[in-house]
């Protein structure tokens, strides 16, 4: 283990990310299918902020906020408890009529009130309708803007790959919420937005390196685009891992404290989305965005020419061939060859 760490530190590690693209595509496809299945079968459990819910109001001057939370929590609902100058205001998800009556009874019993003193009001969504619509519009415009920007800064193939990786991250994160049935609250949504930025940020750093390295490829080059991209990837690997670690440490701390000490709440809602999103985001910029880019780029005649020439001379495939049999026809896709410099 220590050996691996120090090799990582010195940049000696060389993982064949691009060459294993079938593996990654397969893995991602499985994850995506599971996620989409989760979204279709279970759906997301939206919080009251999105769906609206019920508000219970009652007076219980002697009760503490913990007692009120406990009373509602024991009834199996997720309360948002507020103290007002006239008593308590507890917001829960929309409940069926019989459960409402039950809850009113319980609350009245617990705090020594008559059932009529616990009033109920139906409340609409604070984050529904326009807020959600505009957020979606914002997202679409944002994606178009990013595609445009990355096309200018890099090229459209990189823009496309980055956006695909981004969607990949969002779907998988949403899938985790669908399967775990964690509540999706505004805090979760904001977590998603953070992932959005993070996932792109990560992909951009990797692509920037790929662009730099592959810019040097010429007709006489000794490596294919695939190999060059894989080298670039390995080169930024330490950075990617360091960045992920550094970004994820605070999130992990918040997630840990949020779940263990507080149970449900904003901390957990937000940090779970971030935690999952960041891990998937790092994975996708290495194993989805880059292989996708390589697949797109290798179709370009100039890179095909390099690949053909190298395949013909056998250069670049030699090292690998010595260690493992190269399947027929795999030479053109000799991407991700372990290639020692000199």
């Amino acid at each position: 283990m220590a050996g691996l760490v120090s090799r990582l530190y010195r940049g000696e590690i060389n993982v064949d990310f691009v060459g294993k693209q079938k593996l990654w595509y397969g893995l991602s496809a499985v994850l995506l299918i599971i996620s989409i299945a989760g979204l279709v079968i279970n759906g997301l459990k939206l919080g009251v902020e999105f769906k609206g819910g019920s508000v219970f109001s009652f007076k219980a001057p002697t009760a503490s906020i913990e007692q009120v939370r406990e009373t509602f929590g024991d009834a199996g609902v997720h309360p948002i408890v507020q103290q007002t100058n006239s008593g308590w205001r507890v917001t829960t998800e929309s409940l069926p009529a019989e459960q409402v009556t039950e809850l009113q009874k319980t609350v009245a019993g617990d705090f020594g009130l008559s059932q009529n003193d616990v009033t109920l009001q139906v409340i609409g969504a604070t984050w529904g309708g326009q807020v959600a619509d505009k957020a979606v519009i914002g997202l679409i415009v944002f994606m178009l803007a990013i595609i445009l920007y990355l096309t200018m800064a890099f090229e459209w193939k990189m823009a496309l790959a980055a956006i695909v990786a981004l969607l990949h991250d969002l779907v998988i994160t949403a899938g985790v919420y669908a399967w775990s049935q964690f509540e999706v609250t505004p805090a979760t949504l904001l977590g998603f937005l953070t992932i959005l930025g993070y996932s792109l940020y990560d992909a951009v750093v990797v692509f920037d390196m790929i662009k730099e390295v592959t810019a040097k490829l010429g007709t006489t080059s000794k490596v294919t685009y695939t190999q060059a991209a894989n080298d670039a990837l390995n080169h930024t690997l330490i950075r990617s891992l360091n960045t992920t670690l550094v970004a994820i440490l605070p999130v992990a701390a918040i997630l840990f404290i949020g779940t263990t000490l507080f149970g449900a709440g904003t901390l957990k809602d937000l940090s779970l989305a971030l935690f999952v999103g960041m891990i998937v985001g790092t994975y996708s910029s290495l194993c989805v965005a880059t292989p996708l880019l390589v697949t797109l780029k290798e179709r370009e005649p100039r890179y095909q020419a390099i690949a053909r020439r190298l395949a013909a001379t056998g250069a670049g495939a030699g090292a690998k061939a010595a260690r493992q049999p190269v399947p027929a026809g795999a030479a053109t896709a000799s991407g991700g060859e372990k290639r020692k410099k000199k």
Partner: protein, 586 residues
């Protein structure tokens, strides 16, 4: 650089000290606030339609949280509307909300582009709508005061066509009264605003505007200021319509002249005292002109409305552009400013222009209902406690501190000497973030909710990425055999800078788009995201880079001391080299 940064930090600290602002303003979830319940009053006592209730919710949300950073919430509750505003003692704000702003008709006195523009674009500045013959509405326009704005359709669903020219006419059985009116009007216009005349040939109007007489910085250039109160003129000069709220909700005294922006912020107006108020409107409907198939809005007045309306349209008709327009002002914003094609007597009018069904219906609704589609009474005002206990905030902060502490430990182990740089950079980033949040809270009403705080903590972690990119570049340069650390630091910076800028630009685009397009909490979060991105750039450019450059002169780092994080052995420079590096192709 370092001194400049220090000066900035001290200056911000100074402002904080002078204003006694040391802590951020917290949002609804952390600080609690005031909750107001509004109950709609309908004439017949029926419950309001869901549609009008939703419309009211949206309008109220725009009013209490137009800038998106005040963390106010608005929701419908049964037939009521519940508004929650963070912070105690916010009744003032809440009072503003429920009062139904009244629609007012005011004659236009002057028009200018909505915000200061760079020289060169002034040619299109005086956006005088040319009186379109009502048969060919799309041909003319208020031209394009801000090319970038009108080019993209407003995604909010608000009518993009509103910026286009609209014309007011009598709804007469004759199909084209307006068309006959237009040529008469073609002669006298233009002198006052400095715009060329395009009336006779509507299709050329937008491009026919250049005059060159307009001085770039002065919005009043070429504007006829006779009869405008100097005080109002000053407000007009200062008015900047590029702000997100467009001056919405400004105090609109019907007996005074008034300055206002239009809905998309592309133009601003000086307006005469109110001639007719919304209460005089009997009905407003949208419909299709049978002969042309074009959408229009029909309007009728009651009471003293027809007389007042006749008076203002006559005055306007006999004035030169832009005073031949009558603006409809709602909630301090000009929702429409059609050109008067003829004096309109009889209390009926129709507005034509490039309406779609949606925009025509919306305008008709606004005319009919005023700002709010319903009338409300306040049924209760309550102070509410925070939804999250102080424990959640404390937990979040502790967790964040632990997390950032781990980051510090990790970078010290991994980068050793350079780790100290990243730790200091994180400290600087934290200080700047805290100061910005406090000052924004104090001056701009920015309120921090728990998600914001977590977002900020996470962003500070992501800030560290900029250092990592830079440090890895330095180590690359060393590996590739730069002779001195000092040159490596400089060469690495050039390469790292590009990566950092591109990556930050992506984050910033995300923040900008979401801030301007989203509403409520999403906009607030985007605001925080943009803020931290800027701080990241400031820290890397003004602290990390200069600081590393400074350290590079120290023997400890330059000689590659084992604890500096730059020693030869750990980076495998020397005989043992042979590891994979970036291929250096010929």
């Amino acid at each position: 650089m370092l001194l400049l940064l220090l000066a900035i930090i001290l200056a911000m600290g100074g402002v904080m000290f002078l204003n006694r602002a040391y802590t951020p303003e917290y949002g609804l979830d952390l600080a609690g606030g005031t909750t107001v319940t509004l109950s709609p009053i309908t004439p017949n006592g029926d419950p309001p339609s869901e549609e009008s209730l939703n419309l009211a919710v949206n309008i109220i949300r725009d009013r209490v949280n137009g800038s998106g950073i005040s963390d106010a919430e608005v929701a419908s509750a049964g037939d009521n509307i519940v508004i929650s505003v963070p912070g105690a003692g916010q009744e003032e704000v809440v009072k503003l909300v429920g009062t139904t702003a009244e629609l007012r008709f005011r004659q236009v006195l002057a028009i200018a582009a909505g915000s200061p523009q760079p020289p060169g674009e002034m040619s299109t500045q005086a956006p005088t709508p040319t009186p379109a013959p009502s048969g060919s509405p799309a041909a003319t326009g208020k031209s394009t005061p801000k090319p970038s704005v009108t080019a993209e359709p407003s995604p909010s669903g608000s009518p993009a066509g509103r910026g286009l020219s609209e014309a007011l006419t009598n709804p007469s059985p004759a199909a084209t009264p307006a068309a006959s009116a237009a040529p008469e009007k073609a002669e006298p216009t233009g002198k006052a605003t400095g715009s060329a005349k395009g009336e006779a040939t509507p299709s050329s109007a937008p491009s026919a505007a250049p005059t060159g007489s307009a001085a770039p910085e002065d919005p009043l250039a070429g504007v006829d200021t006779t009869g405008i109160d100097p005080e109002v003129l000053k407000q007009f000069q200062e008015l900047d319509c590029s702000k997100k709220d467009k001056g919405q909700g400004a105090q609109d005294d019907s007996n005074k002249q008034f300055v206002a922006c239009d809905q998309d912020g592309s133009a601003k107006y000086v307006l005469e005292k109110a001639a007719v108020t919304g209460t005089a409107i009997d009905s407003a409907t949208s419909g299709v002109e049978p002969s042309t198939g074009e959408w229009l809005v029909q309007l009728s007045f009651k009471g003293s409305g027809p007389d007042q309306w006749s008076k203002v349209t006559t005055t306007a008709f006999n004035s030169e552009a832009p005073r031949n327009q009558v603006a409809m002002v709602l909630d301090g914003v000009v929702i429409s400013a059609p050109v008067i094609q003829e004096p309109i007597t009889g209390g009926r009018a129709q507005i034509s222009g490039s309406f779609t069904q949606v925009t025509a219906t919306e305008l008709a609704n606004q005319l009919k209902y005023g700002a709010l589609p319903l009338k409300f009474e306040k049924s209760s005002i309550e102070e509410v406690s925070s939804t999250l206990g102080a424990d959640q905030l404390r937990g979040g902060l502790i967790a964040g501190a632990i997390g950032l502490g781990l980051v510090v430990v990790y970078s010290m182990i991994y980068y050793r000497g350079l780790g100290a740089v990243s730790v200091l950079s994180l400290v600087v980033a934290s200080v700047l973030t805290y100061q910005s949040v406090v000052l924004l809270g104090h001056f701009a009403g920015f309120r921090l909710s728990l998600p914001h705080i977590i977002g900020l903590i996470v962003s500070i972690g992501i800030t560290a990425d900029s250092f990592i990119v830079y440090f890895e570049r330095i180590r690359d340069e060393m590996k590739e055999g730069r002779r001195t650390l000092r040159s490596a630091v400089e060469v690495a910076w050039v390469r790292a800078r590009r990566t950092i800028l591109i990556a930050d630009a992506v984050m910033f685009i995300a923040a900008l788009v979401l801030y301007f397009l989203a509403v409520g909490g999403v906009a607030g979060f985007a605001f925080a995201m943009g803020l931290t991105t800027l701080i990241d750039i400031v820290v890397v450019f003004m602290f990390t880079k200069p600081f590393v450059a400074m350290l590079a002169r120290l023997k400890f780092f330059a000689k590659g001391h084992p604890l500096s994080g730059l020693d030869a052995e750990r980076m495998s420079i020397g005989p043992s080299a042979g590891s994979t590096t970036v291929p250096q192709e010929a």
